[in-house]
């Protein structure tokens, strides 16, 4: 039997020690009504060879983005992953360890997470970070819950330009509780409408959450919102792309209280959207309301530097129904992967990655502006993706797809007033040739 090491002899001897006659007798105290009367109706086990064949053939049925000229982004991005990353993160000592509850035999994991926390603080400018949450969506939800605990207020205000998947997650997370959520619209240039926020935010508002670059790609003027939020004693939560923070101003310098988001861009593959990881960073004063694991630096008995999980009095295994969150397992391996990715890329690598993405996206924007029927009405303050519009977008997308181009995401499903809006993205992996090919094909289709 695969993966089971007890031989028939072992079993015999162990049953004898346990004082039980047969393996089935280990279950004789179970009520007979609940015992399965026959074998499960699933196939018998396959050889490793057969499993490999079968699963590999499923993988082969997928058409990866590498078989297209793809401009898809919208929350998950195709960045180059240095070859050194995989062998390091696949090391069994990381891969097959559990949560580092036992500090003395988990120092390497703990130091790596401490480094991860430091990296998130360096990128965001915030004081503290946790050891990761599940993904961008659930990290936003956890941050909103955190703001509700801190302010003891009951209203949440959201920019409608937060990633729609994240918004949906937030609504679900809050659906069992009695809080009010209000969304504010966006203006003609693709920015969150500040006037709308002003009319909605009040003394009951716990937080205002926005995303920058927002879902349409536009970089928000964050301070214009955080100042307003602060006036009402509410917190500002920002959903950020950590890679963009290699160029963009630190959220901490823009009046933001809590930063969160998805870390896939830091060395993660697309993998149909998971696993990535969620990050959270905040100010010192809110540390004890932050959900999730936290690693701290301390010493051992001989005063040597050591690390351990800390501030666990916030967590479910101690505080139970009064915990800051129910989170237990997180996405540690992905967080450590991010720390290794950032270490490999280094300052220069990260800046280049962001700079090239920015330039290529703006080059694409420029080239699209040459195409007569393309409408570019939003602000040019974008990082690596932006919205363009064209009549009958759906059929244009389909025609491009037939020519092996995935030009982006039609955002009409999320924003009805942008039914012909296409969100296109360039990361540093795009080449001029690919962008030119997209434009020439588009022109050809529109002829």
């Amino acid at each position: 039997m695969p993966y089971i090491l007890n031989t028939e002899n072992d079993i015999k001897e162990m049953l004898r020690v346990a004082g039980v006659a047969t393996l089935d007798d280990l279950y004789k105290h179970l009520p007979s009504q609940i015992r399965l009367k026959k074998e499960l109706n699933i196939p018998s086990g396959f050889s490793e060879y057969e499993v490999k064949q079968s699963v590999t053939s499923l993988a082969a049925k997928n058409k990866t983005i590498n078989s297209f000229n793809s401009f898809l982004g919208a929350g998950l991005y195709d960045h180059y992953i240095p070859s050194a990353l995989k062998p390091l993160i696949s090391r069994a000592e990381f891969l097959t360890a559990y949560t580092p509850y036992q500090a003395e035999c988990s120092q390497g994991i703990l130091q790596a997470i401490y480094e991860y926390q430091s990296y998130i603080c360096l990128l965001t400018g915030m004081d503290v970070s946790n050891a990761s949450l599940f993904d961008g969506g659930s990290s936003l939800a956890e941050c909103v819950l955190m703001s509700l605990r801190i302010t003891k207020r009951n209203k949440v205000v959201l920019s409608s330009l937060i990633n729609p998947e994240y918004k949906k997650t937030l609504y679900t997370y809050l659906s069992g509780l009695n809080f009010k959520i209000q969304e504010i619209d966006f203006d003609a240039e693709g920015f969150t409408d500040r006037a709308a926020l002003k009319s909605v935010i009040d003394e009951n508002t716990a937080c205002f959450a926005l995303q920058s670059p927002n879902f349409l790609g536009t970089i928000e003027d964050i301070e214009k919102f955080s100042s307003l939020t602060k006036e009402k004693g509410a917190l500002t939560i920002l959903v950020a792309n950590p890679l963009s923070l290699s160029l963009l101003k630190e959220p901490a310098c823009q009046g933001v209280d809590i930063v969160c988001g998805d870390g896939q861009v830091l060395g993660g593959s697309l993998s149909l959207g998971g696993p990535s990881f969620g990050f959270v960073a905040t100010k010192n004063e809110y540390l004890r309301q932050m959900p999730g694991r936290i690693v701290g630096k301390t010493v051992d008995r001989e005063n040597k530097t050591a690390y351990c999980l800390t501030l666990q009095a916030r967590e479910q295994h101690i505080k139970r129904e009064k915990a800051t969150s129910n989170i237990c397992s997180n996405q540690s391996l992905n967080a450590i992967q991010a720390a290794i990715y950032l270490s490999l890329m280094g300052k220069d690598g990260m800046q280049k990655c962001a700079l090239y993405s920015l330039n290529l996206a703006h080059y694409l924007y420029g080239r699209l502006s040459e195409v007569k029927s393309v409408k570019l009405s939003f602000s040019q303050n974008f990082f690596n993706e932006f919205i363009w519009q064209i009549d009958d977008a759906k059929s244009v997308l389909k025609k491009l797809y037939k020519r092996k181009i995935i030009s982006g995401l039609n955002v009409g499903n999320f924003y009805p007033k942008l039914k012909n809006g296409i969100l296109s993205c360039c990361t540093e992996t795009k080449s001029r040739e690919q962008i030119d090919n997209f434009i020439e094909t588009l022109k050809d289709i529109l002829k």
Binding site: A59, R91, S271, G273, K297
Partner: protein, 482 residues
């Protein structure tokens, strides 16, 4: 040994060259974007690849892991993580697919999820599964939000959730996140649900009970059918925390036990690696009456084509972006194919046998928390040792010197000086014997020289860590020295 952080090894002269310079005229950020949205400096280290490789390789060596050490961490099911699963999860066809590609491009992935769902439905008796949740706790949240919405749609006035005092901490924490009041019921002297106390606690306002079976003492709740009857009679639902499902594979199902909603920890029962604490996957299954409440989307099939089905009448929505930890699902699927129907029963039986073997061999030296038959794990109560001057913590730390990862300590909360041992089915009798011998030796050491235990571990990378200092003066990140 070099204890420096990666930041302290930085050399500003080193530049990485992983990405390609585009063949277009490059502009500076400030020529493209307004100055007020750009940062002035970026404090990230600069290192050569070899330095990074050496740094993290060395860090990896300062840990115990399943591949290097016996890891009998109770409630965590640290079974072997087969290597074939890693290889398959890394196939290009699974790594480089974007969730917003056309369904036509994703057929292999969708088929895999669909097949995995079919297998898990048969194994648990549930009608359907959602794979969105990234962990057991998130699975609980998903399941309990469905329970909440179900009662809302049915116009049932419910506000309480019943949870035994032996439950995982995630259960009460989840109940609170759903806006329920948690009603804790005390276990009986054997560590099982006390039916009298349950009867008294349940009323028309009871929304659900959250249960682990076998429970956290490693005991099967023999009165599970009576429990189900009491809860159902009062219009409540049964939620199954599947963290301990391993010993029941192919033996019984949550459906037969009377559960309405469940989660399975694919990173426990179905062999996917724990990765220092994640990613995992919480597969959430439900019976008929909760189908309309599942998260969107489900994977359905029309003729030969698989598609994302968003038409779920009372769906609770989403608990994360996209469709869950897909590459974890690939591993669990490969595992299930490999084991098959006979294999799963053998898993359950051997997991149970291994735990019982340890229990029988140690029960004269260490008190067992309950006299009831054990399933996949056994909880020892080190009260005799405590009286002699060595706590469960000391014993746990001493095990590190023997090269064994400590069992779960001080849990469940209802057992004094608890050590919870879950060997899993993938360990050999030789390994179990080594563990047993180590535990016996440690017990002797308490009589001979308990200082060894107080000073343990002595052979680890660091000596005992000062966790109090860590909490009192939080140092949670690196800061450049001025």
């Amino acid at each position: 040994m070099d204890d420096r952080l990666i930041f302290e090894k930085s050399d500003s002269g080193i530049k990485a060259s992983y990405v390609k310079k585009p063949e277009i005229g490059l502009k500076e950020p400030k020529e493209i974007l307004p100055a007020n949205c750009l940062r002035s400096g970026l404090e990230l280290p600069s290192l050569g690849e070899l330095e990074v490789v050496r740094h993290y390789t060395n860090l990896s060596k300062r840990n115990f892991s399943l591949d290097t050490n016996f890891y009998p961490l109770g409630s965590c099911t640290m079974k072997y993580n087969p290597k074939i699963n890693e290889e398959l999860a890394s196939l290009e066809g699974f790594l480089n697919i974007h969730p917003y590609q056309n369904e036509e491009c994703l057929q292999g992935a969708l088929e895999l999820i669909y097949n995995l769902e079919t297998l898990l439905c048969e194994i648990t008796g549930m009608k359907r599964f959602s794979f969105q949740a990234s962990s057991g706790a998130q699975g609980e949240l998903t399941g309990m939000l469905m329970v909440k919405k179900y009662h809302k749609v049915m116009k049932n006035k419910k506000r309480k959730v019943i949870i035994p005092d032996s439950a995982h901490g995630t259960n009460p924490a989840t109940s609170s996140m759903c806006g329920y009041e948690t009603k804790v019921i005390e276990s009986d002297k054997d560590g099982l649900i006390d039916l009298d106390k349950l009867n008294k606690a349940v009323d028309a306002e009871t929304a659900a009970i959250m249960l682990t079976n076998p429970n956290t003492l490693g005991l099967f709740e023999e009165n599970i059918l009576e429990v189900a009857e009491i809860i159902h009679k009062n219009g409540g639902l049964l939620y199954y925390d599947g963290a301990n499902f391993n010993p029941l594979l192919g033996v019984t199902t949550p459906r037969l036990m009377g559960f309405d909603a469940i989660h399975l920890n694919l990173h426990k029962t179905f062999s996917t690696p724990h990765g220092c604490g994640g990613p995992g996957a919480g597969a959430v299954g439900v019976v008929d009456k909760l189908l309309e409440f599942l998260p969107v989307p489900l994977i359905d099939k029309k003729k030969d084509d698989f598609y994302f089905n968003y038409k779920i009448k009372h769906s609770i929505g989403k608990v994360r972006a996209f469709y869950g930890n897909f590459s974890v699902l690939v591993r669990a699927y490969a595992y299930l194919l490999r084991l098959g129907r006979e294999g799963l029963v053998r898993v359950a039986q051997n997991a149970t046998l291994n735990a019982n073997y340890i229990k029988e061999r140690l029960k004269n030296d260490y008190n067992v928390a309950s006299n009831k038959p054990s399933m996949h794990e056994v909880v020892f109560s080190c009260t005799k040792q405590k009286e002699k001057g060595a706590s469960a913590l000391d014993i746990a730390k001493r095990l590190i010197d023997y090269g064994v990862h400590p069992p779960t300590m001080y849990f469940p909360l209802i057992v004094k000086e608890a050590l919870m041992v879950e060997p899993t089915e993938t360990e050999s009798r030789k390994t179990l014997d080594y563990f047993i011998d180590s535990m016996l030796k440690i017990n002797k050491e308490i009589d001979e020289n308990k200082e060894i235990l107080h000073n343990a571990p002595s052979a680890a990378y660091v000596k005992r860590v000062d966790e109090v200092k860590a909490a009192r003066n939080p140092d949670l990140r690196w800061v450049r020295e001025k």
